[in-house]
């Protein structure tokens, strides 16, 4: 699809305008034609929308000039046989999965770091904090989700190295999620399910995709087109588990503290 914007190469904002136009058209269309109500604080809302647009344009342009090239280069370098010390004969054979320890460490660290910077997760965290009247801290939520993504991507990298089928992991993950759902506090369940879809967005997807591509094209016997996929799926499944685990743990702690203070009062 061609860009609607004429000055695409001059003004970085145009890419985002293309993404936003359909959304804006739907919002305005329904507001004017169906709801027929004036938007409260129209000026404020428009300023906000413009700020979001401008912010995203800066954000994405900045990522593309700074972090993405370097991150992608690093993913390629870390997965290169030369770096891993697999020379000649050894590279031909299937290297042991432990040769890739730095790759797993990178996968974990970059998964955590990109999730913390993910704007959509910030948005959901702000909303959850508002709705729960402060009971869910924005920072606790984001760290819990980021740990989930980190573990997921590290495990996904291991899967590409070891070559085991993707669906075994995903289906096992589903079973774990279902078991957790039965025990987790009710208020966290919907939010936890949401967190899976939220984490994989502007910052995470390009870097993680580069990692998957680098891994699968450097390991003998892997086809980048078939095995390079799947990291995103891990990154959207594991936060569900980590967020529910976080809620369960904090409930447990609260109960423990409660009991201890009760005992304290008795003595």
């Amino acid at each position: 699809m061609d860009s609607i914007c004429v000055f695409e190469h001059i003004v970085p904002i145009c890419g985002t305008v293309d993404d936003v136009l359909p959304i804006l058209a739907i919002l305005v269309g329904f507001q004017v034609l169906v709801l027929r109500r004036p938007i409260p604080n129209l000026g404020r809302a428009l300023t906000g929308f413009a700020l979001v647009l401008l912010g995203l344009a800066f954000f994405i342009q900045g990522l593309e000039t700074a972090l993405f090239p370097l991150g992608k280069l690093m993913a390629a370098q870390l997965t290169a046989p030369e770096f891993l010390g697999l020379v000649g004969d050894q590279a031909e054979r299937r290297p042991h999965w432990q040769a890739y320890l730095w790759v797993y460490a990178f996968a974990f660290a970059i998964g955590f770091a990109t999730t913390i910077a993910e704007p959509s997760l910030i948005a959901v965290a702000i909303k959850a904090n508002q709705v729960s009247a402060g009971a869910i801290g924005t920072w606790g939520l984001r760290i819990a989700v980021a740990i989930g993504v980190a573990v997921g991507i590290a495990l996904g990298a291991y899967r590409i190295v070891s070559g085991t089928p993707l669906h075994y992991y995903i289906i096992t993950g589903y079973v774990v999620v279902l078991i957790q759902t039965a025990f987790a506090p009710r208020t966290i369940i919907a939010l936890a399910y949401d967190s899976g879809g939220v984490t994989t967005s502007t910052v995470t997807v390009p870097l993680v995709a580069a990692l998957g591509l680098g891994l699968s094209s450097n390991i003998p016997g892997r086809n980048p087109l078939l095995d390079g996929f799947g990291l995103i799926a891990f990154a959207s499944l594991f936060p569900i588990m980590s967020l529910m685990a976080y809620a369960q743990l904090s409930e447990l702690f609260a109960r423990f503290n409660h009991r201890r203070s009760a005992k304290h009062k008795e003595t």
Binding site: L27, I39, L56, F83, A109, V124, G197
Partner: protein, 264 residues
């Protein structure tokens, strides 16, 4: 709904213009500091791996510095805009739809929002093109340019339809108060069943397509819509019922993409 607005207005009246400008500056500075903190982990990870593990200098240090500054500014503006614009718009529309009371128009809006925001999503376009390449390599379609383009386009519309349907189901769930886990379990069973039926080549793409559909502008809007609906309807708890729209939007595309793989 109107209560916080009045207190805010009276507060501005009381503090006056001078105080307002100071408060605004302070707020912007705090927001900048928060963006810096959000970005620090990425910079730390990249620096650690570049210097300690790979032992290489940073290429284009200038570009890196400029880009990082842009990212910080962008994130700060985005979060401010979110609070000023996207959240209030999403919630106000949810309240208006609840007041209007027309189920048809609410569901039509839900579908349009899901479909419209997904069909032009750049991440989805990229995934659809890659999927077409996989399909051509696997001999599922002709290797010609036109066959691939039509495959990619079909996939894109399939995913967009799946997301539209997901938001419709999610909105219905909020209205009726169905517990989310039963719907999600049903979705998981659908994914497992389709995995069993679908051609091997499509599975990885299908699983990934669930994650790429929800863009940075859709997420706050849809979240505000869900929370707004749940708080405008009596008997719904915004915490239990308001979230969950995104969850459906990342589940249905998996099922539909595998279905697309079976049909084509």
């Amino acid at each position: 709904m109107s209560a916080p607005k009045t207190t805010e207005a009276s507060r501005t009246r009381r503090t006056g213009k001078q105080g307002m400008r100071g408060a605004f500056l302070l707020q912007m500075l705090r927001a900048l500091a928060e963006s810096l903190r959000d970005l620090a982990p990425i910079v730390a990870v990249i620096a650690f791996f570049q210097f300690i593990v790979l032992r290489e200098p940073i290429p284009n240090l200038f570009d890196l510095a400029i880009g990082t500054v842009m990212v910080v500014i962008g994130l700060t503006l985005f979060v401010q805009g979110l609070k000023l614009g996207l959240f209030p718009i999403g919630e106000a529309m949810a309240w208006d739809f609840a007041r209007k009371g027309s189920l048809f128009w609410l569901l039509a809006f839900a579908f349009c929002l899901g479909f419209g925001t997904t069909v032009a999503e750049p991440a989805l376009i990229a995934v659809a093109d890659e999927a077409a390449e996989v399909a051509a390599n696997g001999g599922m379609i002709d290797a010609s340019e036109t066959a691939r383009a039509s495959y990619a386009e079909g996939l894109r519309y399939t995913v967009a339809f799946a997301v539209g349907l997901a938001i419709v189901i999610g909105v219905l769930r909020i209205l009726r108060g169905w517990p989310i886990q039963y719907l999600i379990i049903g979705g998981y069973l659908g994914v497992v069943l389709m995995t069993w039926l679908a051609p091997q080549e499509i599975i990885g793409i299908a699983y990934d397509s669930g994650g790429v559909t929800t863009s940075t502008i859709t997420v706050p809007l849809v979240t505000a819509l869900g929370v707004g609906l749940a708080s405008s309807i009596e008997g719904r708890n915004p915490m239990i019922d308001g979230f969950g729209l995104i969850a459906f939007a990342s589940l249905t595309p998996m099922i539909f993409v595998m279905g697309y793989g079976i049909v084509i």
